[in-house]
C-alpha cells in the first residue's frame, strides 16, 4: 500500500472526501456572508445564529410542534396549532423562516445603520447573535437535540477507498447546486444585475423606478435564508445545539476574507478548498485543524490584501 508522509493513500483520499463535505458547508455559509457583505457592506455576525435557527426549525418540524393547548399562567389557550414536517419540507421551511427573521431584522434594526461606519452593523449583528443564542440556551439547554438522517439518504456507499455515508454525498451535491444557483442568479441574471447596481448607486437605480429598499431587505433575507438552509442540511450531521453557530462563525469569516469579501465565486471556491485543506491538517497535525484557516488568512492578507478573488473597494 503506497503511503504519503506515512499515511496510506486510501486513508488520505478518504480524508479529502470528508474535507470536501465540510468545504460544502463552508461554501454555503460563506456564500450568504459574502452576498450580504458584498451587496450591503454589512458584516453579518448573526450568520451563525441564523444557521442555528435553520437547524432548529428542521428539528422542531421533525419533533413536531403541538400548540393545541398552551398553558399561560392559569389559563389554557386553545390555539389549535399543530405541525410536523420531515426533512424534505424542512429544506423549504427552514430557509423561509430564517429569511423572514432576516426581513424583520433588516427592516427594524439594520436599516438605521447603513449611513454609518460598518462597525455598527457588525456590532449590532454581534449583539443579536448573543441574544438569539442565549434565548435558545434557556429553552433547549446545551446538550442539544438529535436529528435523524432522512430514510432515503441513510446508509453508506462503498467508494472503494472509503465508505461514504449517502447523506454526506448528498450534502456535497446539494451545496454545489445551491452555490452555483446563487452565483448564477447574482452574476448572470437581470435581477442580480439590478441588485448589484442598486447597492453601488442606490439613488440612481431608484430614479429608474426600482424599489431599492425592498431589494436590500430581500438581499439580507436571502443571505440569511442561505445560512438557514445550511443549518437544515447540517442537522443530521451534527448535534443541533444553540452553540453550533458560534463554533463555526469565525471560521466562516476567515473563509470569506480569504476569498475576497465581495466575491461570490471567491467564497465558494475558498470554502471548498479550505474544507479540503482542513481535512489534510486533521491527518497530519490534528490539534491545529481549527487554526489552519486563520494561518492561511494571515498569509493571504499579506500577499493579496483584497483576498484571492476580491477587488479592493
Amino acid at each position: 500500500m503506497t503511503e504519503i508522509f506515512g499515511v496510506p493513500v486510501q486513508a488520505l483520499l478518504g480524508q479529502l472526501m470528508l474535507g470536501l463535505v465540510n468545504g460544502s458547508f463552508y461554501a454555503m455559509l460563506s456564500l450568504g456572508l459574502a452576498v450580504i457583505f458584498g451587496l450591503l457592506g454589512v458584516v453579518n455576525f448573526a450568520h451563525g445564529a441564523m444557521y442555528m435557527l435553520g437547524a432548529y426549525v428542521a428539528w422542531l418540524g421533525l419533533d413536531g410542534v403541538d400548540l393545541t393547548h398552551v398553558q399561560v399562567g392559569s389559563q389554557v389557550l386553545n390555539l389549535g396549532i399543530q405541525f410536523h414536517f420531515n426533512f424534505w419540507t424542512a429544506l423549504l421551511v427552514g430557509p423561509l423562516v430564517v429569511g423572514l427573521v432576516g426581513v424583520v431584522v433588516e427592516k427594524l434594526l439594520l436599516k438605521r445603520l447603513y449611513k454609518l461606519d460598518p462597525l455598527y452593523g457588525l456590532l449590532l449583528t454581534f449583539g443579536l447573535a448573543l441574544i438569539v443564542q442565549g434565548v435558545f440556551l434557556q429553552f433547549y439547554g446545551s446538550s442539544g437535540q438529535s436529528y435523524d438522517t432522512p430514510e432515503a439518504l441513510s446508509g453508506a456507499i462503498n467508494l472503494g477507498f472509503m465508505i461514504l455515508p449517502k447523506y454526506r454525498g448528498f450534502v456535497i451535491v446539494a451545496s454545489l447546486v445551491v452555490c452555483f444557483g446563487t452565483w448564477f442568479l447574482i452574476e448572470r441574471t437581470r435581477l442580480g444585475a439590478l441588485l448589484r447596481a442598486g447597492t453601488e448607486n442606490p439613488s440612481l437605480v431608484q430614479a429608474f423606478g426600482v424599489n431599492v429598499p425592498l431589494m436590500v431587505t430581500l438581499t439580507y433575507a436571502g443571505g440569511a435564508a442561505l445560512a438557514g438552509l445550511a443549518g437544515v442540511l447540517a442537522a443530521p450531521v451534527i448535534q443541533v445545539t444553540p452553540l453550533m453557530g458560534s463554533n463555526l462563525i469565525i471560521v466562516v469569516f476567515a473563509v470569506v476574507v480569504i476569498g475576497g469579501m465581495g466575491s461570490i465565486i471567491g467564497s465558494i471556491v475558498t470554502g471548498l478548498v479550505l474544507g479540503v485543506l482542513e481535512g489534510l491538517t486533521r491527518v497530519f497535525y490534528p490539534e491545529a485543524s481549527n487554526v489552519v484557516v486563520f494561518f492561511i488568512m494571515a498569509i493571504v492578507l499579506m500577499i493579496r490584501p483584497a483576498g484571492l478573488f476580491g477587488k479592493e473597494k
Partner: protein, 323 residues
Amino acid sequence: MSWLGNGTQRAGKIVWILALAFLLAAPFVGVYPIFVAQALCFAIFAIAFNLLLGYTGLLSFGHAAFFGGAAYVTAWLLQAQHLTPELALVGGVLAAAGAGVVIGAIAIRRQGIYFAMVTLALAYMLSFFFLEAPFTGGENGLQGIERGKLFGLISLENDLALYYFVLAVFVAVFLFVLRVVHSPYGQVLKAIRENEPRAISLGYNVDRYKLLAFVLSASLAGLGGALKVLVLHLATLQDVRWEQSGEVILMTLLGGLGTFAGPVVGAFTVVGLQNYLSDRAGSWTGVIIGCIFVLCVVAFRKGIVGELLAWQQRRAAAARRHD
C-alpha cells in the same frame, strides 16, 4: 467662581476629582474592594482599546490576545520564576508590546474591516499557542498565583494594599493616555482617524503613527491583564478568547467612544452588570448583555458619557441663545 468658568475642561476636572475621591474612600464606605480592583483592570483594558478605536479609528478584534497573553506571562513569572509583582507586571507588559509589534506590523497594512479581520485571525492563532503551550496549564489555566511583595517590601496579599496599588496604576495609566491624546502625536492620530488620505498628503508617515498607537494600546491592554492576575490570583484561557475582545468593544461602546470617561464608565457598568446578574439573573446574563449591545448600537451610539456630553452641550447652546 471664575476658575470654574473657563470652559468644560474645568468642569470635567471637578468630576474627575470627585470620582477619584470616591474611589479612594471606597473600601471604607462598604464597597467591596476586590470588585472595584477587577473593574479597574478592565477599565485600563477599555482605555487602551479606546485609544486605538476612539482616537485612531482602528477597530481591533483581537485585543484579548494582549490582555490575556500578558496575564499568562505575568502569572508564569510570579509563580514559576518567583519574581516580585512589579517585575512580573513589567514582563507581562513587554510581552504584550512584543506581540503588539508583530501583529500590528502585519495588520496595519490593511484598512477598516480587513484590519479587524486580520487582528482577529492573528489573535486566534496566538490563543491557540496559549492553549498548546505547556506552561499555561491548558483549560485549567494558572491558578493559585501568589501576589507577592511589591518591591520586595509591601505584601499585596492584603486586599487593601492591593486595591490602592491597582488604583495608583489606573490613575497613572489614565494620566498617561490623557497626555498622549493631548500631545501633538495625539493630534496626528485624530487627523488620521478623520481623514487618512489628507494626513498622508500632509506628509505624515501614517503607518508609523498607527503602529505606535497599536503597540501602545497593546501594552496598556497587557497591563490591565497583568494586574488582573494580581487581583484574582489566576490567568485562564477565557482571557484570550475572542469573546473577551467582543466584551471590551461593548465596554467602550457603552461608555462612549472617543471620550475619556467613556471606557471607564463602560468597564464598571459591564463588570458590575455581569457580577450583579450572575446571581440574580443566572442564565439570562448573556441575553441581557446582548440586548444592551443592540440597544447601544441602535439608539445609544454615543454611549453613556457621549450622550451626557451631547446633552450638556445642547443645554449650553440653548442657554447661550437666551442670553
